[in-house]
């Protein structure tokens, strides 16, 4: 039993996901929502790694491991980002990008 789905179809999915992430990143003002968009983008790239690995270089595992580490790093990133956001909220009582501009030069 074999899966006969063209690589292209996977890639379309991940592309749409990536551009959704970009769109969200650019339009959202809520820091958390922006972070969600970032997750979308990360996810899209992870899919690509896995797909390319599986389809084009089936004998190797780089893509697989890259995705794996990507997930781990995304987790770490999210943890720190959320810590910062919470801290920001505590100080400004807001989590909108427009409000948090004190660090700007």
């Amino acid at each position: 039993m074999e899966l006969e789905i063209h690589v292209f179809h996977y890639l379309v999915v991940s592309t749409v996901m990536l551009f959704c992430g970009i769109y969200g990143f650019c339009t959202r003002k809520n820091l958390l929502a922006m972070l969600i968009s970032v997750e979308l983008m990360l996810n899209a790239s992870n899919i690509n790694f896995a797909v390319f690995n599986r389809y084009l270089f089936p004998g190797q595992l780089e893509g697989h491991f890259f995705s794996l580490f990507g997930i781990a790093i995304a987790a770490a990133e999210t943890a720190v980002a959320i810590a910062i956001i919470i801290n920001v909220y505590r100080n400004f009582n807001r989590v909108l990008t427009d409000d948090v501009s004190h660090m700007k030069g």
Binding site: M1, E2, L3, E4, I5, H9, Y10, V12, V13, V16, M17, F19, C20, I22, Y23, G24, C26, K29, N30, L31, L32, A33, I36, S37, E39, L40, N46, A50, V51, R54, Y55, L56, P58, Q60, L61, E62, H64, F65, S67, L68, F69, I71, A72, I73, A74, A75, A76, E77, T78, A79, V80, I82, A83, I84, I85, I86, Y89, R90, V95, L96
Partner: protein
């Protein structure tokens, strides 16, 4: 019309879910919903990993992403009461620019992909990547083995953890 196998149907259904949920995740007006749609997207991704035979990766995806990160989001959404601050207006010009850029970008990428003429390769289904192999690759130090990145990621995780705690700690 070509006939579809169950697997094909599963894939296209997942793909549809992912695409729809992605779009909804970035367009919905309520942040809790946004997080929920993200959760669906992550689930979908996990399904795709599994279909590729990377069951382990799919499991990690479900556990870390869907199980860990999204929960973290929910908590922080509740903590920061940011559901009330999702109502905002964005400049019309800016919105147009973003839309145009993303749409063009997406079309371009898809066009590029379509013009690449990837060969249609069938992958065997139900043959998963053995966990033993993953384990060896992960802690081996030879070529194509990843103990160093693994350790580095571990250190990074620890550091992030400590950092996150320090940052989020309430200063007295």
């Amino acid at each position: 019309m070509m006939d579809l196998s169950l697997l094909d149907i599963t894939f296209y259904a997942t793909a549809a879910v992912i695409i729809v949920c992605s779009i909804l995740a970035v367009t919905t007006g309520r942040i809790v919903r946004s997080a929920t749609y993200l959760l669906f997207v992550l689930f979908g991704t996990g399904v795709i990993y599994s279909m590729l035979g990377y069951t382990y990766l799919g499991a990690v995806q479900l556990m870390v992403y869907a199980g860990g990160i999204v929960v973290l989001y929910i908590f922080s959404i509740l903590l920061t009461r940011s559901s009330q601050t999702m109502r905002y207006r964005i400049g019309r010009g800016r919105l147009a620019a973003v839309l145009a850029a993303t749409a063009t970008g997406a079309v371009l990428v898809i066009f590029l992909l379509a013009s690449q003429h990837f060969a249609l390769v069938a992958i065997p289904q139900g043959v998963e990547l053995p966990a033993r192999e993953i384990g060896h690759a992960m802690i081996g130090s030879d070529k194509y083995q990843y103990v160093l990145p693994f350790e580095i990621v571990s250190v990074l995780l620890v550091a992030c953890m400590i950092g996150a705690i320090l940052i989020a700690r309430r200063h007295k």
